[in-house]
Structures are given as C-alpha cells and as structure tokens.
C-alpha cells in the first residue's frame, strides 16, 4: 500500500515537472517510521516515535540548469505546486555543463529479506521489555555495575524514485539495532563497556547477550592504569574496525574527494596499499549488509563492486552518482544516497561495505599479541590528512593491555593519530566472524602497529 502510494506520487511529480518545461526530471518519495527507546542510569529516559516523509524533485532545463526541492509532505494535492517551485529554482540557476543526464533505466529486481514484518510492527512495549532484560542482566552480572545506558530502535523505510527517462524503482527496508553501555564503579573508579547489534530482523537482537558482553567489559575496566604513549600492536573488535572502514569509505572511495584530489585512492592507484589479506566489497544485495537495498537514490540498480581487492585500490574502487560520473564521462555506479534526511547532501558513498573474512578467532589474535592493546570501540574519529588516510580518534568502552598473549589489565583511554595506509599495511590476523556495524560488515583484526599520541586523563 505504502509503496503504491509513493510510486503514484513520483510518477505524477515527474510528469508535472516535465509538463512545466523541464527537459529531464527526477522525483523521489519516502516514508520513514522510526521508533527508538533510549535508556540511561538504568531507566528509560527518551522514548520516541515519528512518522516522517517527503517528496524530492529535481528539475533540469534544456540548457542544463538544475533546481532541487525537498518538502515534508506526501499530499498529492501539493505535487503541482512543488513541481512549479522546482522548475522556478532551476530557472534561477545557471547551467552545469558537467551534467550529462539522469540515469537511463536498467532492469532491477527486489531483494529478499530487506523487509521484516516483525521489525516493522515492533511496539513500544516490546522495546521496553527488551531494555528491561538488558538492564537486569547487566546489574545481575556484578554489584559494581552502577548504570546501564543504550538504545533499542526499530525503523521502516519506504522509498520510490522515477525519472523522465523511464527509471522507475522502489525499495523497502527495515532496520533494528540495540546498543548497551554499562558503567561500573569501584572505589571511585569507573569502568565502561559497550556492545551493539545491527540487524534487519528485530528478533535477532538478544539483549541478554549484549548486556553480558558490555557488563563483562565494564566490570573489567575499572581502575584502569596509564601506559606509555607510542606504537602498539592492537586487536580491534568489529565495532572499532567498522568505524575505521566507514571513514575510509567517506574520505577515500567517494567520487567527490577523488575528484577534489583529497582521496588517498588517487595517489595509490593499482598499488599494494593495504595488506593483501584485505578485500572489501560493496554489495547492497548481499544479506550480510545492514542497509540491504536493490537500488540507490536515483533508482540505479545496486551491483557488486570491489573497493579493495587483495589490498589494492584502483579507479574501479570509486563510487559515483550520475552527476559525478558525468563529470568524468562515466556511468553511475549506483551510490547516490536516498535523500531521506533533512540535511541531505548528494555525496555518493559506499554504505554496504563488506570485509571478506579471514580465519582467526579474536581469542587467537589476543594469544598472538606480545605487548598490545585490545580496543572495543573508537570514539570521535576524524580525518586529519585524507590524502594519507591519517585519522585520529580515541579508544572507549573497554580498552585493555595485552601482555604475552593475555589481557592483563584495563588501561586509560588513549588517542591514536596514524595513517591507515601504514596501519593496515600489515594485518597479521583477520577474523573469521563477520558482524554488521551500520554500513559496514567487518571482522575483528590484529594490526602490528598503531601510533598512540595522547591519553584521556588529567
């Protein structure tokens, strides 16, 4: 029902826009039903549900002037007015000679398993009950558990897009996630631990498992010690790896930094820039990816694409939408992000990154580490110098010293500032168990060296 309504809207919007003089037109419509139960200090403190939707019209005039209009409405009676406004905006703009045209239609097929009824129909009572389980589990773990925080969310997205060249496609997706952060305290010293789960099927979230993991890390994190700054071997959990990989996608594999000259990929084409064990593909049709979808924001069918193949990056690694592809006389690779957020920026990015697994268990990685650091989570990571993929960020929610193959003690959170080109050049061990972490599917990894430059203490 919802998809039918959205497809009617986008067809009418495209037609209205071209009738008003647009040479080409694209319309997309979306409906989001988002619910989130948030908890802290072992009680629910924010509990929200929202129905959000809208129409986005892009009008292109014959001389390549373009205007975009986004409106928070799904009223069919508004379509004519919105089309008029989009055309008016285009008439006030100037031509973009780099625009080579909207995507041509291509065959596409829906993906199985993207939409799960149980997630779409999740109730506030269900979310509250799961949160209760997590809180009780964490407190039962130890008397030093002081507080439990986190969220449990369930979301449904319906999306349809059409253009005047004949593209007509739609998608629906459910996502669910739970995060549990446990805070322990002993003799005035706090310890933190975190665990997260991302899935399309809400029934796959096990709050007890998450709470046990987070509480275990939290209890073991109290009374952390400071260690010397410098280079350390590191064992990174999937949460930490997912953060690093998503930043590489943003600064390296998007066409915008590539064309601007700020992407590291531009300077290392066809070179062995990462360890040969590292292969990362982008595949929105793979059930292992969180944001599973058959099409991108322009209705271009999603296809398998290799971003890193046996440690090598190439021109094939770059992700395009139609506008950026046109500037290089290429075709879109299907990486336009659906314009569903209020602050949307048309930046093509890979958001279905899947790291090919290795054959190690995380316990083996720890056993193989002589003097290193176990990292649960990286906080506030940001690029410092994107052409060298230098990132900075801090450890958080469970950082431990590894000595002679064993975790020996918790350590105070530390800041790393290092080039991922050098850090990921040697990956002695790659995990075999993959986990979804938002737009990435990753395994734990062990690195020979990561540079730590600061400590979170005063």
């Amino acid at each position: 029902m919802v998809i039918e309504r959205l497809t009617e809207i986008v067809e009418k919007a495209v037609s209205a826009t071209t009738n008003l003089g647009a040479n080409q037109a694209q319309a997309s419509a979306f409906l989001l039903e988002n619910a989130l139960t948030r908890y802290a200090n072992s009680q629910i403190h924010q509990n929200v549900v929202s129905k959000n939707g809208g129409i986005v019209i892009k009008a292109f005039l014959p001389d390549k002037r373009m205007g975009t209009l986004r409106a928070n409405t799904l009223e069919e009676s508004e379509i004519e007015r919105l089309a008029e406004k989009a055309v008016k905006i285009a008439k006030s703009a100037r031509p973009d000679e780099g625009f080579k045209g909207l995507p041509e239609p291509e065959p596409w097929a829906p993906v199985e398993g993207a939409f799960v009824k149980e997630t779409a129909s999740c109730t506030p009572e269900y979310r509250a009950a799961r949160v209760k389980e997590a809180i009780e589990t964490a407190h039962n773990k130890s008397s030093i558990v002081k507080a439990v925080a986190g969220y449990f969310s369930s979301n449904t997205m319906y999306f349809a897009v059409a253009n005047s060249l004949g593209v007509f496609a739609h998608a629906r997706l459910t996502t669910a996630s739970m995060k549990t952060t446990v805070i322990s305290e002993s003799e005035g010293s706090e310890g933190f631990g975190t665990a997260e789960k991302y899935t399309r099927n809400i029934k796959e979230i096990d709050p007890i498992l998450l709470a046990e993991d987070a509480a275990d890390k939290s209890v073991r994190s109290v009374k952390p010690t400071k260690i010397q700054l410098g280079n350390y071997e590191v064992v990174l959990s999937p949460l930490a790896v997912g953060t690093i990989l998503s930043y590489l996608g943003y600064i390296g594999f998007s066409a915008i930094p590539y064309q601007n000259g700020s992407s590291f990929v531009k300077y290392f084409l066809n070179k062995q820039v990462f360890d040969e064990k590292l292969t990362v593909k982008d595949d929105a049709r793979d059930p292992r990816t969180f944001y599973m979808t058959p099409i991108d924001g322009e209705g271009v069918p999603k296809k398998l694409k290799f971003l890193i193949k046996n440690g090598i990056v190439s021109e094939e690694s770059i992700c395009y939408d139609s506008l950026r592809a046109g500037k290089e006389n290429k075709k879109s690779t299907g990486h336009s992000v659906p314009p569903i957020t209020r602050w949307f920026y048309d930046m093509p990015v890979p958001f279905n990154m899947i790291m090919e697994p290795g054959d190690s268990r995380i316990e083996e990685m720890i056993e193989e580490t002589k003097h290193g650091i176990f990292v649960t989570y990286f906080h506030y990571v940001n690029p410092v110098e994107p052409t060298k993929a230098i990132l900075t960020g801090l450890t958080r929610d469970g950082t431990f010293l590894i000595e002679n193959g064993e975790i020996t003690k918790p350590i105070v959170n530390m800041r790393f500032t290092d080039s991922m080109l050098s850090a990921l050049k040697n990956i002695p061990l790659l995990g075999k168990n993959q986990e979804m972490v938002k737009g990435t599917t990753v395994t734990p990894i062990k690195l020979n060296k990561l540079r730590f430059v600061g400590i979170s203490s005063y």
Partner: protein, 481 residues
C-alpha cells in the same frame, strides 16, 4: 489555527492521563546554494514541517511526531505519545520532575534588516559565482573551489499544559568559501571566514553581504597556494595563539559539550559520552585560569544560537558556566535543572525539527573578552605558534583529551609572525589547556556561527554560536603529524 490544534492536543493528552504535555508545531525553510568549479553544485530549497507531542504519564516521558498537521493525525500522535510514556514507565526509578519556569504567552522574531528569502536566487548566485571564479583563478593547482550560501527560517509554535503559548520566527543566514589545492601529491585546504561552509548569524541578508566573499576570494586562494612552500609545523611544546575561527570550535568541544547537564548526568553515556565536569565539581572545580569567563547566552544579538524561548517555552537566558576559571554552571533543561535543584533551566532545550525530541543544546557559548588587542598578544609572545581556521577535530567521550588541526599557521618569534607553517595540529587536556590561558583579546571579539553540531540518538543537527576573539595558551604540544 495552531493555537486551536494545540489546545485540542493538550486537552486530549491530559484526558488520557498525562500529568504534563506540550506540543510544538513548526515549519522550516532552508535554502542551500553551492557553487563548485564554475557550476552550481547545489541549488536546493528544503522544507520541513510537522508537529511533535511530549507527554509525562505515570512519571515517565513519551514523544510522538508526524508530518501531517491536522486534527485527525493529532489524535493518533497524542495516543502514541501516551502509550509510549506508559511503556517508559515500566522502567523508571523515579518520577520526572520539572523546574518551575515563568509561564508566558508571547511572540519573538529574529530582528533582520533584509529578508534573505526575499532576495532573488539570481542575486545570491551572482555573488557565489563571482567569488568562486576569483578563488579558482588564483592557481591551476586549485582542484576544487567552492562558494556557499545558506538561508534558514524556522516558524515554531509551542504550547504546554501549564498555559505557555509561544510563537517564534527564527531566521539566520551566511556563507563562505573553501578551496582544495593539490601539488606534487600534497593537498592543502583554505576556507573563509571559517570552516563548515563559512560563518552564520541570526540576522538578515545583510549579514551574508557583510562577509564580502567576492572581496576576500583572491586572498584566500593566494594564501592556499603559499601553503605548499610553507614549512611543516614543528613538533614541540610551545605557546599557542588561536584566532577566533579555531577558538570557537575549541570552546564548543571542550567547554560547550562538557557543561551540558544531560551528559553530566549520564543520559548521553551510550553515544556522545559523559562529562568530566560531574555535579560534585560544580562551584569547586578549577576549569581554567582566572582570565577564563564563559557564558551560555541565548540573548546575545546575532548569535546563531539566539532565540526568544527554548523548546520548553523557557525564556532565553544568560548563565555563567565558567567564572574567573571556576566551573559554576551547567546548560540545562527543566528536568535536569530540577534534578540538581538549580533553580531553573538555562533555556538550553532545542530540537532540530518539530519531528525531533528537544535535547539540551548549546545556545551561544561565549568566551568573554579580555583586555588585549589581538596584535598585542602576538607582540608579547617570544616563541610560539599561531593557528587559524579549523581543519580537523576530535575529543574523547568525557571531553578531556582533544586534538585539533588547522588549515594554516605561523611561527612567532620575538613578538612577530615569521614564516607560515602548514598542517598545524595541537593536542591537550581540557583543564590544563584552559588553565594555561593567559591572554584574551577584545578588539577582534565577535560571534561565530556553527550550523552543524551533532548530538543525540536519533541524531540531530543544531545551529549554535560562539563568541570569542584571539587567545593565548602556554606550553601546548603542537605538531602531531
């Protein structure tokens, strides 16, 4: 019309068992223009509208929102908010209490001279195209040159079950320039007047005109190219001078966020983190040197975080966070203020749309001026580094350890700016860093606008202001890369 819808929603909420309820109905218009490499990259008009209902039932919160502003949908949304609040109450330790605030029926509108939405798109684009052209033509090494404009207007109506009824129109606009140059595999970037698409102010189009993008474009491009010949920032511990367009973000990250009371009370522990400024430190902890005075001020003219009332209907306030170096105040909501018996909210609650739940957000977090002139601070520095315009940023979950990078810097020797330096970075620990602040300027003090502060789950993006000039910090570690 909104008044009648609001009244119906609140009556329904109270009838269904709410002990408190409020409703926000709003519409946002957002005009975003970007010119890149001689072509219009973004010519966008974004409209957001809808309403959100908060309700307390059995001592717990519920919130529901929708884009369909009509009586029928209002009924559904109220029902959802109530049922969600009931679900929340399954897991509560204590009942939500709200601080007492003055109940007002009022209207507020951002004072503007020239309505940015009445100025033609053509006029704005003419400025952007000309400024971008001048920027790009400074060197073939410039691979990407951008000019930006953004105009924003939010009409919002607030009503609560205590009798408050507020209508506001908030308008802001601004813009900037940014260019990326590449030479021999090295990349440099330069922005004007600040990073994050420029500078923004609650003001009319006259503010965008005052930025003089066309007049400044050439200098920005020339400075960018000079960076290729600059020396790398040395690794050392030295005196650091920050200009306003970097100091604003330093204030934002290391004072703004840690003084948010929701963080300090643990309710952001799962995402943004907590704060080292925990409640027992209030009024006792030495945050900075005696020169450091920082306020949260929602009343200051032209601040990007300036308004008449926050999204709980609390009148805009100015409160001290740091007074002569001592930590003395929090940014708060009615609920968090009541929890610490602060005597009232700081007027810190805002949502980024009517569909979002209000959170404690920075208004204008201002570092009050000192007695120095900016150039006197340089003249008084024997050996140091001056850094300008943010390029990278990161800070930990308790807001203790930070690292920033800027686009450009200069070595200072014997009181004068010597050679330009590139890729400058610095690292520090918040109380030590602010404790080393020994000079603050007055002559170049101004409000800076940051339009992209992220917080909360689900994530929200808020526009906030920071007043500051130039400041000096002693013994800072610089040159991390």
């Amino acid at each position: 019309m909104f008044s009648e819808l609001g009244r119906l929603a609140l009556e329904e909420a109270m009838k269904q068992g709410a002990s408190y309820a409020d409703i926000r109905i709003g519409e946002i218009e957002n005009e975003i223009l970007t010119v890149k490499n001689g072509a219009p990259e973004e010519v966008k008009f974004l409209q957001t509208k809808g309403f959100g209902v908060r309700a307390i039932v059995n001592g717990a919160w519920g919130f529901a929102a929708s884009i369909d502003v009509n009586e029928k949908e209002m009924g559904h949304v109220v029902e959802k908010a109530i049922s969600i609040a009931k679900a929340s109450s399954m897991l509560k330790k204590k009942n939500v209490q709200l601080s007492q605030e003055e109940i007002r029926q009022d209207k507020y509108e951002t004072p503007i001279k020239k309505d940015p939405f009445e100025v033609s798109l053509e006029e704005k684009l003419n400025i952007l195209f000309e400024a971008e052209r001048l920027l790009a033509e400074q060197s073939p090494s410039i691979k990407a040159s951008y000019s930006y404009y953004q105009g924003f207007r939010e009409k919002k109506f607030f009503m609560n079950s205590e009798g408050a009824e507020i209508s506001q129109v908030i308008t802001w606009c601004g813009g900037g320039l940014m260019a990326i140059a590449v030479k021999s595999g090295e990349m440099q970037v330069r922005s004007y007047p600040a990073s994050f698409r420029g500078d923004f102010s609650t003001a009319g189009y006259e503010f965008f005109e005052s930025l003089a993008l066309v007049e400044n474009a050439k200098k920005v491009g020339q400075e960018l190219i000079k960076l290729f010949d600059a020396e790398k920032c040395p690794s050392m511990t030295t005196d650091l001078i920050l200009t306003g367009n970097q100091l604003a973000l330093q204030i934002h990250e290391s004072c703004g966020h840690p003084t948010e009371l929701d963080r300090a009370l643990g309710t952001e522990a799962d995402y943004a983190g907590t704060s080292f400024l925990t409640p027992e430190k209030l009024g006792k902890f030495r945050y900075g040197s005696k020169h450091v005075n920082i306020v949260a001020d929602a009343t200051v003219p032209r601040g990007l975080g300036t308004f008449g009332y926050d999204d709980e209907g609390t009148p805009a306030k100015k409160v001290y966070l740091i007074k002569e170096g001592l930590f003395v105040g929090y940014q708060s909501s009615r609920e968090t203020a009541a929890e610490l018996n602060l005597g009232g909210s700081s007027s810190g609650m805002r949502a980024d749309s009517p569909l979002s739940l209000p959170l404690i957000r920075m208004t204008n977090i201002n570092l009050l001026p000192g007695d120095w002139k900016a150039e006197e601070i340089v003249e008084d520095t024997k050996d140091g580094v001056l850094m300008m315009t943010n390029r990278s940023w990161s800070i930990d979950d308790k807001r203790i350890n930070f690292q920033f990078g800027t686009e450009i810097g200069w070595r200072i020797k014997n009181g004068s700016l010597e050679n330009m330096i590139k890729n400058p970075t610095y690292i520090g620990v918040t109380p030590q860093f602010w404790g080393s602040c020994d000079a603050l300027s007055k002559d170049d003090w101004k409000m800076w606008g940051i339009p992209n502060c992220g917080k909360g789950v689900p994530g929200q993006v808020m526009y906030v202001g920071h007043g500051c000039g130039t400041a000096r910090f002693k013994n800072v570690r610089v040159g991390l890369i």
